[in-house]
Homo-oligomer: 281 residues x 2
């Protein structure tokens, strides 16, 4: 827990744990929470939400249209500093702005260690107009009550990460054979996803949601941590209230790396975010 007040009063674990406090121009402080750990390291999507909030504080536009993050070292719970640098601030009538952000922690000796470097282009999702001519369809999934949550996992199986207590995650039974020792080999994971405390999704929480499911590597028979090298997220629309459907797929596991492509659908059947990450197998 933070020993100092951060943002304005917050009502959710996610808002509390991603809060940032401006310290000086271009420098913000955060208190990274152990609640979003996968093993010892903090989840990459959670870190992206912290960066996303710091960038929102630093840019004239409110919503991440595209954010690209390169993960350098594993982050741990505790204090962190986010340093933002404007790249294009949209001085004139620009509809977007771009900034760079670095998430930095200190080791036991007080040495700075950079954890994540990100580039982001922000805009205003509510200002977007134009037709929707998508060929994308939401994934076919059973309703949440016919899906599996962490509490259904067999004892002695894959350990449940701390982060899962922040989430109401319901895995499509077709994509969780790996939890019973029977990965399908297709590289697919699908789930219903809400925040456990009922906080509704927004563009910042989508940055976490794209990385919140068990890794597709599990469905390919891999085990253990699959550290992210790079992850890019496009937020395409403001999500409607209600549970999200998240679909992850991997096409190419080769020579120690795999990509993980994510799609997030909101309760109105709209494709609200797309992600791609490169991870180490």
């Amino acid at each position: 827990m933070s020993d100092a007040p951060l943002d304005a009063p917050v009502t959710s674990e996610f808002d509390r744990d991603t809060a940032v406090r401006p310290r000086e121009q271009g420098v913000l402080e955060a208190q990274l929470s152990p609640g979003w750990a996968i093993g010892r390291a903090l989840n990459g999507g959670y870190l992206l939400s912290v960066l996303g909030r710091a960038l929102r504080e630093s840019l004239p536009h409110p919503d991440p249209f595209a954010i690209s993050a390169h993960y350098l070292t594993a982050s741990v719970a505790g204090p962190a500093e986010i340093r933002t640098e404007p790249v294009r601030t949209g001085r004139t009538v620009s509809t977007v702005s771009t900034a760079s952000a670095a998430l930095v922690q200190r080791d036991a000796e007080g040495n700075e260690i950079e954890r994540v470097r990100a580039l982001a282009t922000y805009g205003d999702l509510d200002a977007l107009t134009g037709e929707v001519r998508t060929g994308a369809k939401p994934p076919a999934m059973p309703p949440p009550e016919h899906c599996f949550s962490a509490s259904d996992a067999p004892s002695g199986g894959v350990p449940v990460p701390e982060m899962s207590h922040r989430l109401d995650l319901r895995l499509d039974p077709e994509t969780c054979g790996w939890a019973l020792g029977e990965p399908s080999g297709r590289g697919e994971i699908r789930a219903w996803l809400s925040l456990a405390d009922g906080r509704e999704p927004d563009p910042l929480s989508l940055l976490m949601a794209v990385d919140a499911l068990p890794p597709t590597g599990f469905d390919l028979g891999l085990t253990g941590w699959l550290p992210t090298v790079e992850m890019s997220v496009h937020v395409r629309a403001r999500p409607a209230p209600g549970p999200l459907r998240v679909s992850l797929t991997t096409r190419n596991l080769a020579t120690g790396f795999l990509e993980e492509d994510g799609e997030i659908w909101d309760s109105a059947d709209r494709l609200v975010a797309q992600s791609r990450q490169l991870a180490r197998a």
Copy 2:
């Protein structure tokens, strides 16, 4: 043409036009060539190759594993400066290194204008080992001699961009109905791709190749320039000599934006690069 010698003797248009010359620590010069224009602006993949070469000069590892670029303003032919900043240089036994790079030009009044900002993680593709367990299959395409090149385009149709003269591009007949005024609406473009002067593909030219085809928007009935907001590329293997197959797809055209997903296959049927870009419709 440059008025000064750039790199070592070069043998291809691509190598000549992406050459960079270190000027001081972290600053490199390039002469952007009008040969890679799409209309007035220079192609985003070409610019990414220039950035990729500058980053290679600045990092201890040779190959782009993951590069993410945010496009700020349209680049034009002429002098450019690339400023690189190390983020993680792999001082110890690290297998990857990360840097930031900015491509900057000057306007008629001499004011600096940043064109592209990129983040990249480099490694050594030849050092990668491990199994290939991919579910991805190369796209089914007719042989190049049964595909269409720019010289087959009907007169009065979509204008042929200057860049197409640098390429030997053969479009799958199934994905070029738009050239006859009959877009399929599927958002798919596939082609065989080589450099026109016979230079074989390498990781740097893949950064250009992911953005070298006509945009998928044409197959969705859009016309005109579709400026890139963000593009990320993962290079997964060093390409074998011979023509590449490039497959682009768009799933979601909505409220003025579309994503374009690219896959590049080499002559050995290996998936050598994956890309995703967010573009304005």
